[in-house]
Subunit: 415 residues, 2 copies
């Protein structure tokens, strides 16, 4: 079977998206439940395909982290199937009337929530993204046009075959979930430029993917960028609370985007906090400015670049500030638009911080780790937007929809 | 005085945007009213600067249309000043709570409407865009970073000077409204790539500007694209109403994006409609498919490309279809995502059309000319988005805002 050209495949996905947009929500849910069954039924085939990917990655000398991300197991596959069923239980985002009014000339004007159309997802090694992203796209009335990595191609093909069986069983067009099987860089660039097909492209990957999107994409896109998240411990902080939040934000899962990368300490509490953390967070390497180094032997000197790094590891930068104002300016200059927290008992300081910090999420007396679609009640997430247009922060079903003006008249014309 | 480098100017605009974001709404309104006064006071200087632009354009052989767009008069300037005052009377979009809930762990989670930050506007000849766009950006809590055309540079500089006087009088930083005075192509491309400065870029111009945005922009943007708008006259249409709507959509102002470019006729009414329009809309050249040509001597043969053209003139393409389904497919294949209308007394047909057509605005028994921020009650518009992300259709103040997650706790950490 020859691989279809990406433009030809795109046309088929676009055509399928129109059928999906006009389908009933219950039919889409039925397709998701059918896909879950098909995924379970295909366990042997999917795990065999995954083993092929793992063998190839092993021969290519992939790191343990890469291998772990790529690995499917019986229980990971069961979780993916359950994820499909969960998405079918979420609140239907479509059809709701965002705004309605009647104009003086009698026109009825509504803004109604509708599907985006074709959502493109371009992602790296994790094969579970294939089913998670496809499920959210489908439930929101869209076709999912997927471009995974070459390293996970066999796994992704096997997963997509199961998902498409779910669509077919519900009487929906199989091309509503389609995988780009040509994983060359050239085809990735063509994918990013399919303006007649893709209504929204969401990249899920590291800085090089983001850079390629910025350089090449001509379709509308939403960036799921880095998380350089700060926790600021204010002069008015309860230090027990601050210690607990800092440790949770840094240590609970250091490799994710909502982990703390930089600790900002008011000078009034800097010494006490560093003394506490030297004991209770000793597994974390602290890279600080001159004042932090002078205050604690647990702190090594940071370079300027360290304050703009997403370590994704048991490392944190430490900055000492003289005031809340300095903290806000520092964080606005160094954050990546993800999640920023203040710990303080001073309500005025908290409100200043919550108002003036420019990020997708701002938190008072809570760990940055809560900024996640599941934790915040979205049910599931397709990514976390670090830009300000369309969707900001964790993106659930609503982020995969658009709004249309629907205007009803009785022959009105403009004067 | 030397022109600052665009990156340096950008940094100043970014810094000013933070002050604006933290300013009171009343202060921003005061600045708008002050700018209106300053614009009126500077009438002589602005008209003189505009005359310089007009003289240069005349020497360069500009068309009458270009000269008309560029021309400021005492009354146009008065309308601009009034526009600034009107924007100060609109509903403040900021601070509203889009969604609020308390999680099981006690965290209070809100989504709050906030400014975008720095809004870039890149536009062609009309100098009134300078004050209209700056006013909407400022009222929504943003800095306005403006890049107009070289042909209107003297006019734009004079207008921006007045707008900045309004900011200064209200105690706000003047760099919250800034004009890029280097109008070279190279600088326009750098402008489209100022990712550390521009949170949202809105182009207002023709296809070549849109193509340049797609090719060069790395900042997030919302496209104000073409309007290839259709009116479909269904088998169940009241032909008197259909005739009135078609004429209004085509003739009332043919040069704008919400004018009808293509007429789609159900075969049951095609002959009668063409007979009526041959008389009542004889000033319009009709370019039709074979069936339309066969039905009426008023119709000339269209090329395939004519069905994808935005004529912006007294020309319309005509397509005859056998069914509502065929009309919907045809319009979905040829529209530009702007505004599409059906005329019919058949409610089922109308709902099919309103649901299945993929465009920013869909209308039943009303002229496409209503799709306009002023007509739809937005007070003013910064453009009409033909894409599906962030803002769709006419963009008012809300389109110039973002939403931030605000999370308040009492020391919660993630388990």
């Amino acid at each position: 079977m020859s691989t279809p050209d990406i433009a030809e495949l795109g046309d088929r996905v676009k055509a399928a998206s129109r059928v999906i947009a006009a389908s009933r929500d219950e039919t889409r849910c039925e397709a998701l439940r059918g896909a879950a069954s098909a995924l379970r039924d295909a366990e042997v085939a999917i795990l065999a395909a995954n083993q092929d990917d793992l063998d190839r990655a092993g021969r290519d000398g992939a790191s343990a982290t890469v291998l772990d991300r790529l690995t499917l197991t019986s229980s990971r596959l069961a979780a993916m199937a359950e994820g499909l069923e969960t998405v079918a239980t979420l609140h239907n985002p479509l059809g709701s009337i965002v705004e309605a009014r009647t104009l003086a000339n009698g026109l009825s004007v509504q803004r109604v929530r509708v599907p985006l159309g074709v959502v493109g997802i371009i992602y790296e090694n994790r094969p579970n993204v294939t089913s998670d992203a496809a499920a959210l796209c489908l439930r929101a009335g869209n076709a999912a046009f997927l471009r995974g990595s070459s390293g996970a191609l066999a796994s992704n093909k096997a997963i997509v075959t199961a998902l498409r069986a779910g669509l077919a069983a519900a009487g929906l067009p199989q091309d509503a979930i389609a995988l780009v099987e040509d994983t060359s860089h050239e085809t990735a660039v063509r994918f990013m430029q399919l303006n007649q097909v893709i209504d929204c492209l969401i990249p899920r990957g590291g800085p090089s993917l983001i850079a390629s999107m910025r350089a090449n994409a001509t379709v509308p896109y939403v960036l799921d960028g880095d998380g350089i998240c700060h926790v600021y411990v204010d002069a008015g902080a309860d230090l027990d609370m601050a210690e607990k939040i800092v440790i949770n934000a840094k240590v609970q899962r250091p490799g994710v985007c909502n982990a703390m990368e930089s600790l900002v300490l008011h000078e009034a509490v800097a010494s006490s906090m560093l003394e506490r953390l030297a004991k209770s967070m000793s597994q974390v390497s602290l890279l600080g400015d001159e004042r932090a180094v002078a205050l604690s032997s647990a702190v090594s000197p940071a370079s300027d670049a360290d304050f703009d790094r997403e370590f994704l590891d048991l490392i944190a930068s430490v900055k000492i500030v003289n005031s809340l104002d300095e903290a806000i300016t520092f964080i606005n200059d160094h954050n990546s638009g993800h999640s920023e927290a203040i710990v303080t008992a001073d309500q005025d300081a908290a409100e200043q911080f919550l108002t003036r910090i420019d990020a997708a999420a701002v938190l008072h007396n809570a760990s940055t780790r809560f900024v996640d679609g599941g934790e915040l009640g979205l049910g599931a997430e397709v990514g976390i937007s670090t830009q300000k247009l369309h969707a900001r922060g964790p993106m659930g079903l609503e982020a995969l929809t658009s709004v249309r003006w629907v205007i009803r008249g009785e022959g009105q014309v403009r004067l």
